[in-house]
Amino acid sequence: MAILTFREAISQALWEEMERDPRVLIMGEEVGVWGGTYAVTKGFFDHFGPERVLDTPIAEGVIVGAANGAAMAGLRPVAELMTINFAFLAMDQIVNHSAKLRSMFGGQITAPVVIRAVGGGGRQLGATHSQTPDVVFAHFPGLKVVAPGTPHDAKGLLKAAIRSEDPVLFIEHATLYQAKGEVPEGEYLEPIGVSKIQRPGRDVTIVTYSKMLQVSLQAADALAREGIEAEVVDLRSLRPLDMGPVLESFRRTNRAVIAEEGWRSYGIGSEVAARIYEEAFDDVDAPIERVAQMEVPLPYNRDLEQAALPKADDIIAAVRRVV
C-alpha cells in the first residue's frame, strides 16, 4: 500500500488506462499544456502527445458532444469539465445523449464516455462556481453517476468507469484533491454501483459520499470520544444507488443520519431517507436526519459561505438527536 493523494490516485488511474488502451483519450479545457487546472493531467501532454490529450476551446457542449460521438465510434474518451457548474452548459449532451442513445436506438448506438467533473463548495468562488448539484444528474436513468470519497475508491472507480460500456459522470470534489489515503500498489478496479462501509459502528448509520465522507469520518471520530459508535456507509455511486449496505447497517443501528454537501431539498438525502423508510420501516427507531447545505446560492464571503455548508458539527448534532 502506498499513501497517495486523491489527485495522484485520479492521475494514476488515467495514466494506467491510457497506457493500457489506445482508445482512451482525454479532452477538455486546459488538460494539455496547462496540465489540468487541478494538475491532474500534469505530464500527460508530453507523454501521450496532443492526439491523445486534447486541449479544447471553451465550449462544454461540444466537449461532451464530441466525446459522445467519439465514444459512439468506438473510442473511450474521458471528457473533463473544469467544474461541474459548467456541466449545465453540456446538460443536453449528458442527459439527452450520453444517457439515452443506447435505449433510443434499441442498443445499436452506445456512448461509453467518462465525464470527469470537479464539484463542491467552500472555496469562496461565489454562487455559480460552488455547486454540488450531483443529485440533478443522478436523476437520469441511462447515466451512471460516481462520486468517490477516498483516493482508493477514486482510482479503482475511475478505472472501472473508463472500462464501463456505459456513460459515467465521475464527480471529484475540489477540496478533496489533497486528501491522502492508502492505495494498493498493483492494478485494481472498484465496482460501480456498490456502496461500502467505510467505518464500522453499532449505534447509528451515517450515509454519505464524496467530500462529506471525510467530514462524516471526522464526526464519527469525535462521536467515538463520547462513546457513540457511528457506522459510515459511503454510497460511492449515486446511480445505480446500492441501498444494500445502507439497509443492512440500518437494520442493526435503527438510526440514520444522511450527510451530503448539496442543497437539502430534492437532494440525495431525500431519496436515501425515503428508501430506508420504505424498505426498513419496522426498524426505524427515530426520524432519520438529513444534514445538507442551506437552501441558498453560496455567497462569496467566507463566513457566510461556511455557515451555509454542512460541517462535522452538524453531523454530530444530528447524530445526537437520533441516538
Binding site: 486534447l54 461540444v62 465510434a73 443536453d92 433510443m104 445499436q108
Partner: protein
C-alpha cells in the same frame, strides 16, 4: 441538369430514380398510416427534399458515416436501410431499426453506417465532430456526413461543432438542407444572414451553396465537397430545397401561402429527374414506370412486414438502458 455526371450509367441512374421514388412513396404511405393512428408521436416527411439525400449519399463510400436530424426516413433509405426496417420502426415494432423504441425521429442502422436520427435540434453536430475525431485519430479513411436544417444553424451547437471541426481539421461534410423554414420561421426571420454558407466564413471553412432540386447537381456538388473533406478537413455545403408538406403532421401552415408551396411543387425533384432521364438520357417511360411499380411493391411489402411484425416484448422496457439489463424491483415495479 448538371453535366459531369455523364459517367453514371443507366443502371445507376435508374437506381437513383428508384431511390427517390421509394422515399416519396414511403413518406406518402407513412402520412396515411399516421392519420390512421398506426404511427404515433411526431412525423416529419422528407417529401420535396429527396434529391438532397439521394444526391449526396450517392457518392458516399461505405466507410463514410452518416448522421442527421429527425427528418430521417429518406436519409435512412439512402444509407441502405430497408424499407421494411424503416416502416417497422415507424409502427413501433420489434423488427424496426431501433426495436420500436426510437420511432420516426430515431431511425439508425449502424451496419450501414447510419448513426441516426436525432431529435434535439443541433445536438447531433457535436456527435458528428466526435465520430470524425475518432476516425481521424485511428487513421481511418471515412468521413462523416452530417445533415441538418437551416434552423439548426442558429443554435450554439452549430458554432461549437463547426469551430472545433475546422480547428482540428476533422473530416466532416456539413450539409445544411436549407428548406427555407425552421418550422414556421423563415430563414430571414431566424438567421442574421440568409445564405447559410456565409456562416462558414466565420470559421474560415470552405463552403458552397447549390440548388437542391436536381439530384445530379447535388451529386456533383457533393462529390467536390467530399473530395475537399477527404484531403483537408471540413466543408459546409448548403443545399437549397423545400419541403412540400408541413413541418410535421398537423402543421397549420400559417406561415406560407399555398401559392408559394405550389410554385415549389412544380419544381418537383422527381419530376425534374424523370424528365431529364427521358429527354436527355433517352430512357424509356416504360422503364421508369417499371421502377415505380417495383417501388409500389416494396412499399406494400414494407407495410405488410411492419404490420405483421410483433410488438416489442414487455421486458424490452428494461433492456438497452445500460450494458447490463436493468432488473425491475418486484415490489414496486420500479428499477
Amino acid at each position: 441538369m448538371a453535366s459531369g455526371n455523364s459517367k453514371l450509367d443507366k443502371q445507376e441512374l435508374l437506381r437513383l430514380y428508384h431511390e427517390m421514388v421509394l422515399v416519396r412513396r414511403l413518406e406518402e404511405r407513412s402520412a396515411i398510416l399516421y392519420q390512421e393512428g398506426k404511427i404515433g408521436g411526431f412525423l416529419h416527411l422528407y417529401i420535396g427534399q429527396e434529391a438532397v439525400g439521394t444526391g449526396i449519399l450517392s457518392v458516399r463510400r461505405p466507410e463514410d458515416r452518416v448522421i442527421t436530424a429527425y427528418r430521417d426516413h429518406g436519409i435512412a433509405i439512402s444509407c441502405g436501410t430497408s424499407a421494411r426496417a424503416v416502416m417497422a420502426e415507424l409502427l413501433g415494432k420489434a423488427t424496426g431499426t431501433s426495436k420500436g423504441k426510437g420511432g420516426s425521429m430515431h431511425l439508425a442502422d449502424v451496419e450501414n453506417n447510419f448513426w441516426g436520427g436525432h431529435a434535439i435540434v443541433g445536438a447531433h453536430l457535436p456527435l458528428a465532430a466526435g465520430m470524425a475525431l475518432a476516425d481521424k485519430y485511428r487513421g481511418e479513411a471515412g468521413v462523416t456526413i452530417c445533415f441538418f436544417g437551416d434552423g439548426a444553424t442558429n443554435i450554439g451547437y452549430f458554432h461549437e461543432a463547426l469551430n472545433l471541426s475546422m480547428l482540428w481539421r476533422l473530416p466532416v461534410l456539413w450539409v445544411c438542407e436549407n428548406n427555407l423554414y425552421g418550422m414556421g420561421t423563415a430563414v430571414e426571420r431566424a438567421s442574421a444572414v440568409s445564405q447559410i454558407r456565409q456562416k462558414a466564413e466565420g470559421y474560415g471553412m470552405p463552403n458552397a451553396r447549390v440548388e437542391g432540386m436536381d439530384v445530379l447537381e447535388v451529386r456533383q456538388a457533393a462529390e467536390k465537397a467530399l473530395e475537399a473533406v477527404r484531403g483537408n478537413g471540413p466543408f459546409l455545403l448548403e443545399v437549397i430545397t423545400y419541403r412540400f408538406r408541413g413541418h410535421s403532421m398537423g402543421d397549420p401552415e400559417r406561415y406560407r401561402t399555398s401559392d408559394e408551396v405550389q410554385k415549389y411543387q412544380a419544381n418537383d425533384p422527381i419530376g425534374i429527374f424523370r424528365r431529364h432521364l427521358i429527354e436527355e438520357r433517352k430512357i424509356k417511360v416504360e422503364e421508369l414506370d417499371t421502377e415505380e411499380t417495383k417501388v409500389e411493391e416494396e412499399v406494400e411489402d414494407a407495410v405488410r412486414f411492419a404490420e405483421s411484425s410483433p410488438e416489442p416484448a414487455p421486458e424490452e422496457l428494461f433492456r438497452d438502458i445500460y450494458a447490463d439489463p436493468v432488473v425491475p424491483q418486484p415490489d414496486t415495479g420500479q428499477s
